[in-house]
Symmetry: none
Amino acid sequence: MSNIAYFPARPVLEDNKPGKRERTKVANRQAILDAARAVFGELGYEAATVRDIIRRTGLASGTFYNYYKSKEEVFDALADDGARRFRPILRTEFEKAVDFESFLRGAIRAYFDFLAAEHESWRINRPAGEVFPHARATPEIQAVFDEVHAAFAKVLEHDNAPAVDLDYFAAACIAVAREVGDKMLERRPVDVDGAADFAVRMILGGLPALPRP
Amino acid sequence: MSNIAYFPARPVLEDNKPGKRERTKVANRQAILDAARAVFGELGYEAATVRDIIRRTGLASGTFYNYYKSKEEVFDALADDGARRFRPILRTEFEKAVDFESFLRGAIRAYFDFLAAEHESWRINRPAGEVFPHARATPEIQAVFDEVHAAFAKVLEHDNAPAVDLDYFAAACIAVAREVGDKMLERRPVDVDGAADFAVRMILGGLPALPRP
Amino acid sequence: MSNIAYFPARPVLEDNKPGKRERTKVANRQAILDAARAVFGELGYEAATVRDIIRRTGLASGTFYNYYKSKEEVFDALADDGARRFRPILRTEFEKAVDFESFLRGAIRAYFDFLAAEHESWRINRPAGEVFPHARATPEIQAVFDEVHAAFAKVLEHDNAPAVDLDYFAAACIAVAREVGDKMLERRPVDVDGAADFAVRMILGGLPALPRP
Amino acid sequence: MSNIAYFPARPVLEDNKPGKRERTKVANRQAILDAARAVFGELGYEAATVRDIIRRTGLASGTFYNYYKSKEEVFDALADDGARRFRPILRTEFEKAVDFESFLRGAIRAYFDFLAAEHESWRINRPAGEVFPHARATPEIQAVFDEVHAAFAKVLEHDNAPAVDLDYFAAACIAVAREVGDKMLERRPVDVDGAADFAVRMILGGLPALPRP
DNA sequence: CATGAATGAGACTTCATTCAT
DNA sequence: GATGAATGAAGTCTCATTCAT
């Protein structure tokens, strides 16, 4: 069933395929990222040490520092990574949307799907009360927030919706999505549809609009 | 309206005049708490060390351990302290409330007032992106959440409001309050009334109910 | 023959004798200094590491840092120590002197005696070409130089000697003393008298005044 | 006057036009030397690392090791370089000399000229108290010292001067030259003539012979 | 109880050097 | 011969915690 080709040691450089060096570099960077994700997941950000991450990669200690300067830097790389993967998804939702409601529904649904998929890597053993990693404001994460903000502005304008305090509103929406998403992950089975429906109704109509369980 | 049993008030000493030993002990404990608040404020929780706290205290290093076992413990004491001071306020609002709306408005307003007052102690120099200290789920903070939860349940029942997913709802409300509160603190002048109005409307009616700026 | 009193464990604090704590502190500081002297002697300044010094003291690694911040700092302490011990000797010579010649002779003689006495601690295994530790300009060493300078000025003035470029002259005298002293230490037996006589004559009369061997 | 055999001159390539590989090799070696000079000048010998030198070179780290085995080796190459350039100068002075005085004057003058010319490369940013690089006794530097020693012996013998302790004397002369030379470099404007005159008189006649400023 | 020096584990980091490309 | 990433030994130093005074 497997048809994975086993590459011979000597890299073929016919076209502009990267040489072996380049490939190990990429692999190492990824290995560090993976190890870091696992370690942060198990110990939480604070308790984790660079040492722990290194140990898990199997690389030499010095190698870590060829890629990242500190625990903080890997962490941000990790966070950015998530944000960077989410942005195109968000953009797609924006493009598909016809009005605010459809955008909101699509975005939240996409976010919850994303959360559920990422869940495994992050949720394991996180010390109670430790902050969700994406809570840190890396530039990439900030960009996502900004994008949400901008999308809201555009879509609401398109709807000829009356002006609101967009700063507060976007913050509140993100907060609702984050918190409900968090709670969603704690339930079994994980009910993305239900959670998304709740969050959307909450934002669009507040308490009276909430679904009856 | 309220018949929730609270923890007993701090026992009042007969003559209200603690002996010397007692006074020193209380003073030391307070000194540590104050130093810790300042240090956490300046360095953030992670970067702060027990050493830093001790240094600022002026006490001997060993003395610290007569009061707290670790940085985490002081932090929790600090957080609990906030929660413990907020709980009676919350309780008062609960007692004054006549329906859900009045409770929500009162509670949020009280929370924002509380935030604004505490602001000074916490906000200074916090590294960008660091999590607000009250984000940690200490028992005392959890108790506040639980209390909100319970109060919501009672008040909504009293209103004969239709059932909702209280867990999601309370989480969402707290999230909105927290986030809008945070944003409020960033604006000058700090507008408690406006922020509270926004949060309440958001929760009660969602987007269509929001105030026009 | 020995009448050294063995002090009981419990320190007697009748008068202001230092307690045990104080005494270990002094002892530790001295132990570090001694270890450092030995290590610098054996490995040279550059090759020596803080670790080496610690190892030799038998103290815990952290203890070192309770006393000195770095290798450099111990080194300077060591150098200062020498300078600090030499200054009173120099002063005495200054006070005994009746003219420049007697001061010069006394000072150089004292310096060479000092060198010879210190010799043992420093000379062992010093890598060829490594600089003599007193070559570093610590404040205390600078003070000795300044004192020589000042003494020269005073004594020459007292002699009604014609003005010379004191800066060059003092530097040259110190250089001669240092270098001849160094060479002196390499010979067996160490001939302090001969070396001092050479240096003094060199300074007072140059080549024609030198002793015939 | 001189019949001292010197090391052979650098072999002149037949066509004076090195092949490409040869040119690169020479250029790299020189680049490393230049970078090292700069780095030692800026950081001092001890603080400087091979890394620093490589970085400044722009070469790959591995390349360094095709030329030198260690920081020490480059340093010695650098020092030797100075000594090697100075030796012919010294030799010329020796050949021109008619007696001790003329040799001494010529040699010191030449040394101070040399110092003043080299000054720029070395003096910049040298940490206070760090030793002048040529203080290290590399073989090539030792050779200069030995040559001074030998020249002194020959010239003094030629002068039918009475025997002196040549070892002390040469050491003292070098010390005076070094120290006065150092001080000379600190003054503005740099007065080579004055400094040389001072050093020569000091050696030839001691204090009474010094110039009045 | 307060004190504060000693402890030593261990985190962080750099560096010289190697070696596959 | 040039390259530059990987290596891992080793050094620096901090920190929480203990415990004799």
